[in-house]
């Protein structure tokens, strides 16, 4: 009868004991897996209490080294390879014990990267791995997987168990280290309390003021708040929210040490990325503030140059717009437009331009120095992201008239295009049937035909003029939108980069487990053994996981701005992000619909 295969999980730091004392090997035994935890001296053995916790973690005696006993197996070590000698039906799997104080551990499933403060509901995102889960629900997980999960659990608890073993036969503890530890804890709690009492309410008031719903826009079914009006205010709100959530994250971090083991013992699902959140937020804020101080110093140093540059830029902007409209009025590019209509449009736009130049741009020109000083001050205390936010706000303000032109010409073009389409069908004797959503033939009366033909011919001849103006303003809007979106991406990177995760991947990979690998190796003696290694998260997995958690963050934010009746779902978030595609934008331009970028102020 063949014996069933037994696997020994052996830590790599227990390979060849240097001492000649009699040692007892203790560990956990599962069905056919054995996890070796530690050596215990035989002389200390009797004082041991092997039952560690109130839970069912029961250590057992696996074997013995350097002496013989009747009941237990004697392990011999190979001198050359330092590995224990195994029988033919036994597997040796070596593993490096994870340092749980440093939050290293093994995990079969890759962890998710989440740097936001939102709670991740499990059923919001369409799970890409539903098929194996559903199979698992029907047939139950096979016992082998469960064994492997238990083995992982025991491996992760190695250090904890060793600590407990050490404690149980150590009689005196060091008073010194204990007192210092308690002191530090006490100071930390005090600081936290101060922070919560003083700073946090300010943040809360600021958030509630800036997010107070001002009025409800029935078209887009969202609220308009102060923070959705300007980028600077939005950035301020975001900063306040970050400060507001910091203490919670800090508390979680403090509890993470013993919380880790508790959760592991209970076997609940544990995501270590809680501790990533705190460090990430702190890092990003510090980054921002430091870079802000640098940039504000730069700005104040080159203040005069900046003022001159800005003035020149504004003047050039005015002139080029006027030139553009004049160009359109007089045969642009050799195209022959309808003179009367072109003149009418041109005069209209030029009048608005003159008005705008006179009142708005002149004031900015006169006060550009003050504005730049104000921005410098803001950047000093707010960080680099404030600079980008204020640039975006200024850009919005200055191109407001362009936006109005764009709206007007888009509406006209849209109407004209639709009317031409419908009347073209009339030309053929067909009509769009709303009830059946298709085109049917229709007997028109003679006067209807007449009327339709007159208007159709008129509109067809006026179309090139309208198209010329529309394309112009659409292209200019596209350019501003492009600039806008680029700046928004920079802002997103500054505010929401998972920088801690990336750094961890670079320096301390064991804290980001993405699965386990068993590698088969041969020793010089031609014996085989396995090495258990943790696979760190790959960059693609990090990015995917981060994008997923960002979408959930977006969803939470979107839901804040809606009434209780209509709830946004993840498809709305995806739709918003899909607006940033060139093909979609070009299609909208061709049809005469409005082009928009994603709504940064509501999504973040």
């Amino acid at each position: 009868m063949q014996k069933s295969i037994v696997s020994f999980f052996w830590p790599t730091d227990l390979l060849n004991p240097v001492s000649d004392h009699n040692l007892v090997v203790v560990g956990y035994k599962l069905n056919s897996q054995i996890v070796v935890i530690d050596y215990v001296e035989y002389s200390n053995f009797k004082k041991l209490n092997l039952k560690i916790e109130k839970n069912n973690l029961c250590l057992e005696i696996i074997g013995i080294v350097n002496f013989h006993h009747l009941n237990y197996r004697n392990f011999k070590f190979d001198d050359r390879t330092n590995k224990p000698v195994m029988e033919s039906h036994e597997n040796l799997i070596l593993f490096k014990p994870p340092l749980s104080k440093k939050l290293e551990y093994y995990s079969i499933n890759p962890i998710s990267v989440d740097i936001f403060w939102t709670v991740t509901p499990q059923d919001v995102l369409p799970c890409s791995r539903t098929a194996p889960n559903k199979l698992g629900l029907h047939f139950g997980t096979p016992s082998k997987t469960r064994d492997l999960e238990d083995v992982m659990k025991f491996i992760n608890l190695t250090e904890y168990t060793r600590y407990k073993l050490l404690q149980s036969h150590k009689t005196k503890t060091s008073l010194y280290t204990d007192t210092i530890g308690h002191c530090i804890n006490w100071i930390g709690s005090f600081v936290l309390l101060l922070y919560c009492a003083a700073f946090r309410p300010i943040c809360k008031i600021l958030i509630s003021v800036l997010s107070y719903p001002l009025w409800f826009n029935p078209e887009t079914k969202t609220y308009v708040t102060l923070s959705t009006c300007s980028f600077v205010l939005h950035q301020l709100t975001f900063r306040a929210k970050q400060f507001h959530h910091l203490p919670i994250q800090f508390q979680r971090l403090r509890n993470s040490n013993y919380e880790t083991e508790k959760l592991l013992i209970k076997g609940t699902r544990f995501s270590p990325s809680e501790y990533i959140k705190f460090y990430n937020s702190l890092w990003l804020i510090l980054d921002d503030l430091l870079m802000g101080i640098i940039v504000s110093n730069l700005l104040s140093k080159y203040h005069n140059l900046l003022v001159q540059g800005t003035n020149a830029l504004i003047l050039k902007f005015e002139d080029s717009l006027l030139y553009l409209v004049k160009w359109l009025m007089n045969f642009p590019g050799g195209f022959k437009l309808n003179n009367e209509l072109a003149e009418f449009f041109g005069e209209l736009f030029m009048w608005v331009l003159d008005f705008w130049n006179e009142y708005v741009l002149r004031t900015i020109l006169n006060n550009s120095s003050t504005i730049i000083r104000a921005i410098t001050l803001l950047v000093n205390f707010g960080g680099l992201s404030m600079l980008i936010a204020s640039i975006m706000d200024l850009l919005d303000l200055m191109s407001l008239h362009l936006r109005c032109f764009y709206f007007a010409s888009t509406r006209v073009f849209n109407w004209q295009w639709h009317i031409i389409q419908s009347l073209f069908r009339l030309f053929y004797g067909k009509k769009y049937n709303i009830l059946r959503n298709r085109i049917d033939s229709h007997n028109y009366e003679f006067d209807q035909l007449l009327f339709g033909i007159i208007i159709f011919t008129l509109l067809v001849y006026l179309l090139p003029t309208v198209v010329a103006f529309y394309l112009n303003f659409a292209v200019s809007r596209l350019l501003t939108l492009f600039l806008h979106t680029a700046l928004e991406f920079v802002l997103v990177t500054l505010n929401h980069l998972p920088i801690v995760v990336l750094l961890l991947k670079a320096k301390h990979k064991e804290r980001l487990p993405g699965g386990v690998i068993f590698e088969c190796r041969t020793t010089v003696n031609d014996t085989h053994y396995f090495q258990l290694m943790a696979r760190p998260l790959s960059l693609k997995e990090i990015i995917d996981s981060h994008i997923r958690s960002m979408m959930i963050f977006n969803l939470n934010n979107l839901q804040e701005f809606q009434r209780d009746g209509s709830k946004a779902n993840i498809q709305d978030v995806v739709n918003q992000w899909n607006r940033v595609s060139l093909v979609g934008v070009l299609k909208n331009i061709a049809l005469g619909n409005f082009i928009n970028s994603f709504d940064y102020k509501r999504l973040f």
Binding site: L450, F456, T457
Partner: protein, 381 residues
């Protein structure tokens, strides 16, 4: 055919030979899934018995074709008339009010005639129906429909209704107007309203229309107009034929034939608008468009009406008058050369066209069979 006969004779021979040995085969049936005694590639003599060749060949009569082709000539003359008037206003500085007023007064006159004629015809039909109803009511008993059709006296006036029209139905008060086939005369108020609307719209838009193509060169406008005229000739619906009512075929129900395709009207209107944008003053643009609408939009309706009401003398009068007037105008304005060309074109269409058409009939080879989609027969009343 020969091979089929041979094969049939061979099979019959084989049949006689096999008669001695085996029982007689069932006659071959044209059924797909039925297991028969014949081999798979057996071709029976009766296989193509449902094939019809050239069943839709009509024996055309030359004079009938001639009268149909005159419709084409009429349409061409109308288009030429519009072009002539435009040329007159544009080049020869005619007073634009003259053609407009002329055509408007003629239109008003013809409209009055139209309304009166329609009213008369409708009343006559109503009277006929009532007579029929009275005849049916005074018959003692009701036999089957076929018997009653035989016992009816022959109708005096050509009644367009089938003889088996059952008017004595269950309800006591019968709305006879349901069975009328003549269309109602147009509502005067509505017509006046839409006419005024169109006129006022045109008046309002005439400055815009005048300067619509200011920046386009004249040559492109002439080219565009030529293409539009050509398209107009091509897409016009010449197929309305009202001369069948003399004979009553068993499958033909007398239906009101209307033109479904308005494409040619639309094209002629666009042509008029395009041309009008070359004129100098608002008034001339407005007058020209009104004239063109009336001539190329409303006149064909009137002509259709004339032909439908079988006023053949009036119809021929219209045709001859317009053609001769256009010929004369061409001669006067464009000169002898163009006149000869124009008359030659008309002649070739009217005289040579039908002859060519009949000559081509002998090349007709049309197959019809049970594989064609079935034509549903509508039963009315």
């Amino acid at each position: 055919m020969d091979s089929e006969e041979d094969s049939s004779s061979i099979t019959s021979l084989s049949e006689r030979v096999e008669d001695v040995k085996a029982p007689k085969k069932q006659p071959w049936k044209k059924l797909l899934w039925y297991k028969q005694d014949y081999e798979d590639n057996y071709t029976d003599a009766s296989f193509l018995s449902q094939l019809k060749r050239n069943s839709t060949v009509i024996n055309y009569s030359y004079w009938k074709l001639l009268s149909d082709f005159t419709l084409i000539v009429l349409h061409l003359s109308i288009i030429m008339l519009v072009v002539l008037v435009f040329y007159g206003i544009y080049r020869l500085n005619w007073n634009p009010l003259v053609p407009a007023l002329l055509s408007s007064s003629l239109t008003a006159l013809c409209f009055i005639v139209y309304v009166i004629t329609l009213k008369i015809r409708r009343n006559r039909e109503l009277i006929n129906l009532q007579k029929l109803k009275i005849e049916q009511l005074t018959r003692p008993t009701r036999y089957s429909k076929f018997n009653s059709s035989k016992s009816l006296p022959p109708s005096r006036s050509p009644s367009p209704f089938p003889h088996n029209l059952e008017l004595t139905s269950k309800e006591p008060t019968l709305d006879l107007e349901r069975y009328l086939r003549e269309p109602n005369s147009p509502d005067l108020f509505n017509t006046l309203k839409s006419a005024i609307l169109i006129l006022l719209t045109l008046l309002t838009f005439s400055p815009v229309l005048k300067s619509l193509t200011n920046s386009t060169a004249s040559d492109s406008i002439w080219a565009l107009s030529t293409w539009l005229c050509l398209l107009n000739v091509l897409f016009h619906d010449y197929s309305i034929d009202f001369s069948h009512t003399g004979r009553q075929s068993e499958t033909l129900n007398f239906e009101l034939q209307t033109s479904n395709s308005n494409l040619s009207k639309n094209i002629s209107l666009s042509n008029a608008i395009v041309l009008a944008s070359r004129l100098n003053s608002n008034l001339s643009a407005f007058c020209f468009i009104v004239f063109s609408i009336e001539v190329s939009g409303l006149f064909p309706v009137f002509n259709n009406f004339t032909r439908r009401c079988q006023f053949w003398a009036f119809h021929w009068f219209q045709v001859v008058a317009i053609t001769v007037a256009v010929d004369f105008a061409v001669y006067k304005i464009f000169g002898v050369g163009w006149f000869l060309l124009w008359v030659g074109l008309q002649f070739s269409i009217m005289v040579i066209g039908p002859w060519h058409f009949i000559m081509l009939q002998k090349y007709k080879d049309e197959l019809q069979g049970p594989w064609d989609p079935a034509k549903p027969i509508f039963k009315t009343i």
